[in-house]
Symmetry: C2
Subunit: 232 residues, 2 copies
């Protein structure tokens, strides 16, 4: 029951909607770059790959930013979503674990262009220290606390092997980080109030493999005659 700002209405955006807002943002940016000034919910829904009713309901959680009979002003809606997500401000980020994936993340241009600024790359391996990756020098993991304090870092990215991940997360939380993006294949336990999101490359492939196997299985089952030979 914290005090609510009077200018905001209900202000309870469902988690599923939050996860789609960045997709809408990207679609709106693409439309804007095509020179399109106005779009209908149907247009935007197609660009974002969702149902238009869902899109309208999602946007309605933010407010009434469209005009009936007309549609949405691309730039205006884009700004409103960006403000809602928080990407109009600058988010300092630290990346821990500069292996192959850490390299790729440090070089990923999609971060900087969306308000995320990589302020430090950390690794426990001394051989990597002072090496420049994407123009940023790799520093010792023990510098974590100083860097977090100096830059006011709230978001940390873990790209270490699984065995180190929990230790890194503990140190991050102790240093004051409250949001963690975890690429290590391990379950992190963190205190309440700390958000963790997990990206697991091999899990995604395994989900695909399951469906792939089912396709093959179903096809074989449909192709073979169920009557003969299939002794029960």
């Amino acid at each position: 029951m914290t005090a609510r700002n009077s200018s905001e209405t209900a202000r309870v955006i469902p988690e599923a909607t939050v996860a789609r807002l960045p997709v809408y943002l990207r679609a709106l940016t693409a439309l804007a770059e095509s020179g399109i000034r106005t779009c209908s919910s149907e247009d935007l829904a197609v660009a974002a790959g969702v149902n238009s009713a869902k899109l309208r309901k999602d946007l309605s959680y933010l407010g009434s930013y469209g005009t009936r009979g007309v549609g949405y002003d691309v730039d205006y809606l884009r700004y409103q979503i960006a403000r809602e997500i928080g990407v109009t401000q600058d988010w300092p980020v630290v990346i821990v674990g500069i292996g192959n994936l850490g390299h790729a993340l440090a070089n990923y241009s999609g971060f900087r262009s969306r308000g995320f600024r990589v302020v430090a790359l950390l690794d426990a391996d001394p051989h990597l220290h002072d090496e420049l990756v994407a123009g940023v020098a790799v520093r010792p993991f023990d510098d974590l606390e100083a860097i977090v304090a100096e830059h006011g870092v709230a978001i940390g990215v873990i790209a270490t092997p699984a065995v180190s991940a929990q230790n890194v997360a503990d140190r991050m939380v102790a240093a004051g980080i409250t949001s963690i993006l975890n690429f290590a294949p391990s379950v992190l336990s963190v205190p309440d109030g700390v958000d963790v999101r997990k990206v697991d490359l091999s899990i995604e492939l395994q989900i695909l493999a399951y469906h792939e196997q089912r396709k093959a299985h179903d096809a074989a089952g449909a192709a073979l005659p169920p009557v003969e030979g299939a002794a029960l």
Copy 2:
């Protein structure tokens, strides 16, 4: 109604359950490596970071592999889940787009250890051709069809820039690939029967940023008096 195997029951596993099976598999592997032979649903639930009731319900979709009053045999359950997902067999995979992320994916050991074999790395850039990445030579993108046909590839990974992603997906589908893991920040349109899963690094960060902003906002809102009354 396609013909069903007589030994299988309903065999409709919810999507949410499918997404968790790889997590259970990983947790079981960790338990097995610790020398644990038997575990309760509670033990496994803790290791996987889920509720034990949910875990039991998930496993019940596969069959009755536990023993009441005892628990689950770790190795047996591990095999059953692996078989259900399909990771007991070998899945040839092609990766298209050998930039920073493509490099990281090619080197990711979590693939090979789970039944996924990278049979080819493809890139349109001739400068990369014949370069060895993780022991595999980079080949021209135009070799896609030949490689898919030769190895019977069903799963493709897209790690190209956004502008190329749809074209790569179209070529993959035409070549016979029916499951795509897309790391490019773009919405792919594919025909029915083709599965696409999307991993978007910057979207994950944006979701964290939203929650981070809300934390800061709530804290400020609790400390400061309401600002302006924007009544209608």
